[in-house]
């Protein structure tokens, strides 16, 4: 399961580009700081390599 703290996300789309299984997408929803935050829309494809968790610049992602 991939959890994203949407209030910390800055929409840098690094997780979208780096994920080998294309789990993430930038949504049209806006957080309190005005960013379109990322969401894990294809949770079932996740292979738990934790690349997103290790490389997120905002420490917003947690993979369980």
């Amino acid at each position: 399961m991939v959890y994203i703290d949407k209030e910390l996300c800055k929409s840098c789309s690094m997780c979208v580009s780096l994920c080998p299984k294309n789990v993430f997408e930038i949504t049209h929803h806006v957080n309190k700081k005005g960013y379109n935050y990322a969401a894990a829309v294809r949770q079932d494809d996740c292979i738990k390599c934790k690349k997103c968790e290790k490389m997120c610049p905002d420490v917003a992602i947690y993979v369980e």
């Binding site: 800055k10 929409s11 840098c12 290790k54 490389m55 610049p57 905002d58 420490v59 947690y62």
Partner: protein
């Protein structure tokens, strides 16, 4: 149905009231903060029993977000403070976060003399190839011919190889990696935290807002990171490369790791 949000356990080291941090979207400094927290977690070190320092710059703001005692102040003088702290409290682990402008340009003199004395501190230098906080001016580490805010026709100066200078000045643990190497960065920081003596970890990082926009004509952090990967090579691969292939590129890896007597003031002992 809203699911319960589980937050990253590394957030226990961060000051929740300061989040989200001030770094730009996709900045390498945020990634370095993430790698550093992973290294602390792996070594089971408590940042509240350590001292972190930052001068001025984007990178120097990293310790602000860690739950720790920290100094934050004059540009480039972090190693001067660290020398004073180490004279009074030699047992206190000191970690310094400095940018390339902070350490190699403005604090250059303090830095080479701290290397020479083998002061027992860990320096994490994030090299984003310009002065990012002040608007993307040319720095000593800017690659030749790249366009920045102050060099709109291309920089005419050769760049600074920070790791070579640190090795020449006598640092006892020097490594260089990029933000595209999360595991290597984490392991390098673990080795640096355990090393007795001067450790310099240089992390070549992307600056999509300034270096990316001016020099590379892209604001995409991933494209900036790919550019950094294209201008670096592993030290082991470098043995098979010709001089022309290596020109303008930076080697990655561990350059030196040795034990020497550390500086404790008037008397020297290991």
């Amino acid at each position: 149905m809203a699911e319960e949000l589980k937050i990253n356990p590394l957030r226990k080291y961060l000051r929740e009231d300061k989040l989200p941090h001030f770094f730009c979207a996709g900045c390498g400094c945020g990634q370095v903060l993430n790698y550093y927290l992973q290294a602390l977690d792996e070594l089971k070190m408590d940042p509240e029993q350590m001292l972190h320092m930052g001068g001025v710059g984007c990178t120097a703001r990293i310790p602000i977000y860690i739950k720790t005692d920290m100094f934050h102040g004059v540009h480039g003088r972090t190693l001067a403070w660290a020398t004073g702290v180490k004279m009074v409290r030699p047992d206190l682990p000191v970690v310094i976060f400095a940018g390339d402008g902070d350490l190699s340009s403005i604090g250059g003199n303090h830095w080479i003399h701290a290397c020479r004395r083998n002061l027992d501190v860990t320096v994490v230098m994030v090299n984003n190839m310009n002065f990012a906080m002040t608007g993307g001016q040319v720095a000593p580490t800017t690659p030749e011919e790249s366009k920045t805010m102050t060099t709109p026709y291309g920089s005419s100066e050769p760049r600074f190889d920070v790791c070579s200078l640190a090795v020449a000045a006598g640092a006892t643990h020097v490594e260089r990696w990029t933000t595209a190497h999360p595991v290597q960065c984490k392991k390098a920081m673990e080795r640096a935290l355990q090393h007795k003596g001067f450790s310099l970890i240089e992390i070549v990082s992307q600056c999509p807002t300034h270096y990316g926009r001016y020099a590379l004509k892209t604001g995409d952090p991933v494209k900036t990171m790919e550019y950094i990967q294209s201008v670096t090579y592993l030290k082991e691969q470098g043995e098979k490369m010709t001089v022309q292939e290596k020109e303008g590129k930076l080697a990655l890896g561990q350059f030196v790791c040795e034990d020497k007597p550390i500086y404790i003031g008037s008397n020297m002992e290991l």
